[in-house]
């Protein structure tokens, strides 16, 4: 007989649940400016430490410090702040629109606005993102019209994807935003394929893959890393660690690994871990990784440490699985307030101008919303019609679909 004690399954649990008091004091957060910045062509083996720290630029006083600072002009920073304000205002209005029954579903970015807006500014106009559902900031920072975004959310007649996709599943080739899939992680390997295509053609465009902490458990993530590593694809492999995959805390997908960034090491891919609530740090890390890709040095894994303040979607109630106070206890702060403080410190901004900019963002969103709703919403007005349903299945409609379309009466 085996005299070992019976085995027991280990299932990781978050440190606190509803009713507990969240306490992030044990989370190690390095001082802003303290993490080194290696040259982009440094040997990946020599920079393994960067996957276990957090690159930060803005300190508690709102000053930009350290080797990752000084990349952006005042004007660019003001642009960044406006993009984040616009995204937040857009989210607020669309969340409300969903509650009013004007659309079926919405997913907001609350707390994560810096990541997509700052990353976009590090890309060139011909580069391609393969995003998830929480990177609409890529579109906003590239000047994509809010009206079009809203028409997509409302599935109305002007919806660029003709009412076929869930709200927030945008697509814009022109703005470097690949069509979003609802099946998680599929886009990660596709981004690598796109980058390989660019390399095969001797082009200079690169791609960026996006994934959440939870979806890194999908096979597609691992396939993407092995392909990116094998072919040194010019791709930036982004992981947005916002702590929560719907109700499942990040420790379930991460398992025993120290960090998500460290996943890159098994593939010989250099990895950075970045403060995702620090616009300047996100931009600096993105720029570094984009430059590596552009110089044909291969892929980089970048983990953004952030916090999903809102629910996963409008169908989610986070109070059922985490303490209500957790988001306010989150130690990396609010990305908008941090950039605002920095700009005020520079003398380029003020409380009054900020209040005015917030009002302007809300006003811009309201105007677009009025226009979008004049076209239609899920419930009213001119909606994407059933005749659209049969188009674009194939380049040319095959006879069996033509028959079915006639049968349906279109």
């Amino acid at each position: 007989m085996d005299d070992h004690p019976p085995l027991a399954l280990h299932v990781p649990e978050p440190e606190w649940r509803p009713g507990d008091t969240p306490d992030f004091s044990r989370v190690e957060i390095p001082r802003a400016g303290s993490v080194r910045r290696p040259p982009v062509d440094e040997d990946p083996e020599a920079m393994r430490d960067l996957a276990f720290t957090i690159i930060r630029v803005l300190n508690r006083k709102g000053e930009a410090v350290g080797p990752w600072a000084g990349e952006l002009s005042e004007e660019e920073l003001l642009d960044g702040l406006r993009h984040m304000l616009l995204l937040r205002a857009y989210d607020a209005r669309m969340l409300m629109a969903q509650r009013q029954g004007k659309t079926s579903f919405y997913m907001q970015h609350l707390g994560e606005e810096a990541i997509s807006t700052a990353f976009r500014k590090a890309l060139g106009p011909r580069d391609m993102n393969f995003p998830t559902y929480r990177q609409a900031g890529l579109l906003i920072a590239s000047g994509y019209p809010l009206l079009k975004m809203m028409c997509q959310v409302y599935s109305n007649e002007e919806d660029p994807v003709r009412g076929r996709q869930l709200p927030v599943f945008y697509s814009s080739k022109e703005h470097g935003f690949f069509s979003i899939s609802g099946n998680l992680a599929t886009q990660y390997i596709q981004a690598v394929g796109w980058a390989m295509g660019s390399a095969i053609r001797g082009d200079t465009a690169i791609s960026a893959a996006w994934i959440g902490d939870g979806s890194t458990a999908e096979n597609d993530f691992h396939a993407a890393l092995v392909f990116a590593s094998t072919y040194k694809a010019p791709v930036v492999l982004n992981i947005v660690n916002n702590q929560w995959a719907i109700s499942t805390f990040q420790g379930i997908a991460r398992g025993g690994a120290g960090t998500f960034a460290a996943r890159g090491h098994g593939f010989g891919i250099p990895a950075l871990r970045v403060d995702g609530n620090d616009y300047l740090a996100v931009h600096a890390a993105a720029k570094w990784a984009v430059e590596r890709a552009r110089r044909n040095l291969g892929p980089t894994v970048v983990e953004y440490v952030t916090y999903r303040v809102g629910g996963h979607s409008t169908s989610d109630d986070p109070s059922a699985y985490r303490p209500k106070e957790e988001s306010t206890a989150w130690p990396l702060g609010d990305p908008i307030l941090r950039l605002k403080a920095h700009l005020i410190g520079l003398g380029a901004w003020s409380e009054e101008r900020h209040a005015q900019a917030e009002a302007e963002a809300t006003d811009t969103v309201r105007t677009a919303q009025r226009e979008a709703e004049a076209i239609g919403t899920m419930q009213t007005g001119r909606r994407a019609g059933p005749r659209d349903m049969f188009e674009d299945v194939y380049a040319e409609m095959p006879p069996h679909l033509v028959r079915q379309r006639h049968e349906a009466g279109y």
Binding site: M128, F130, P160, V161, R162, R164, Q165, F169, S171, S172, K173, F178, S179, S181, N183, T186, Y188, I189, Q190, A191, V192, G193, W194, A195, M196, G197, S198, A199, I200, R201, S207, N219, D220, A223, A224, V226, F227, T230, E391, D392, V393, Y394, A395, E396, P398, P399, H400
Partner: protein
């Protein structure tokens, strides 16, 4: 006109497609330096360089996912899954991504890829090297599914598939790869030699997708089939002496409904033949369509002959897939009905 095996015809098609369009890239497990375990991509890396024909990690998901990204970039990937039985890890990429990309982006992003897979049994590959998964693809809207039965068709259909603007699943009956299908335990099969199907036209040509071929004309009975079973059907016709019309569908989706229905209306009898398992197989779709369109012309219920509803067995492979004697029995029964 040259005589070629199906493998040589597929090599030739790759070569012509790559020479004609520098956006065509070819990759998969072992396809680069070695030229594929079945040699279908032999010589391509040497001729077109490593960036247009290369080996990949053993990740079917990775092969198809990367191909989709490349297609979105503007290339024309033609990839190989070493055996159709191995495509399941890539199934989500094929079904949820490749098939839907044009639709979900309203034509903004498209996916002109070809996914080649050796299919079917007859080489003692057991359940992991012998499957016929065509019904798993024909059920997916947005894909086209092609199965050649001769070297000439393999070349023309592959060239048409590579030129096609949509994702194409190209299933290659591996029993036909190296020459005629020349035997079955229940009867000899000699159709290949009889019909000199190894003749392949020279140069670039496309055999259009969605067009079936009437490989033998007749007015007593229609046999609808594809791939390896085309040759089994011809042997069964020879054995029975029944004046059956044998239709090689060539493209399962889109289906050449006109040719099929015209034949069944003429003969009044229909037998559907495939190697894949019977239940919910592609034959069920054919039978349903035939009875919808030709009910008042039918002299007997549509009959199906297919692989048994078991996993593909190893030692019993030749008992598993339909041979001429089984088909002949069903033909005679249909004529008596």
């Amino acid at each position: 006109m040259a005589r070629m095996t199906m493998i040589e015809a597929i090599q030739n098609a790759h070569d012509l497609a790559m020479a004609r369009d520098d956006r065509v890239v070819v990759f998969g497990e072992d396809v680069g330096f070695f030229g594929g375990v079945f040699r279908c991509t032999a010589g391509l890396q040497k001729k077109y360089g490593k960036s247009r024909c290369f080996d990949t990690p053993i990740s079917e998901l990775g092969i198809v996912g990367a191909a989709i990204g490349m297609a979105a970039y503007g290339l024309r990937p033609c990839v190989e899954i070493q055996f159709a039985d191995y495509m399941y890890p890539a199934y989500d990429q094929i079904v949820s991504e490749a098939a839907r990309l044009r639709y979900r982006s309203a034509g903004e992003f498209t996916c002109p890829i070809v996914i080649r897979m050796p299919m079917g049994g007859g080489i003692f590959g057991a359940q992991t090297h012998s499957q016929s998964p065509e019904a798993l693809f024909t059920h997916v809207t947005g894909l086209k599914t092609v199965v050649p039965s001769t070297p000439a068709d393999a070349k023309g259909l592959l060239l048409a598939s590579i030129a096609d603007p949509d994702p194409v699943i190209f299933l290659e009956p591996k029993r036909l790869y190296n020459g005629p299908f020349d035997g079955h335990h229940d009867r000899p099969v000699t159709s290949w030699r009889t019909h000199a199907l190894g003749e392949v036209p020279d140069g670039y040509f496309e055999t259009p997708l969605g067009v079936a071929s009437v490989v033998q004309a007749g007015d007593a009975l229609t046999i609808l089939t594809y791939g390896t079973m085309v040759h089994v059907a011809l042997a069964a016709v020879q054995e029975t002496g029944i004046a059956a019309e044998v239709i090689d569908l060539r493209t399962l989706l889109p289906l050449d409904r006109e040719t099929v229905m015209e034949s069944v209306r003429k003969t009044g009898r229909c037998l559907v033949l495939h190697e894949a398992t019977l239940t919910s197989g592609y034959g069920a779709e054919l039978a349903a369509q035939v009875q919808t369109d030709c009910f008042y012309h039918l002299e007997a219920p549509v009959a199906r002959v297919a692989g048994w509803d078991t996993p593909y067995p190893h030692a019993q492979e030749w008992d598993y897939f339909p041979g001429p004697a089984r088909v002949a029995r069903q033909m005679r029964a249909l004529m008596e009905a």
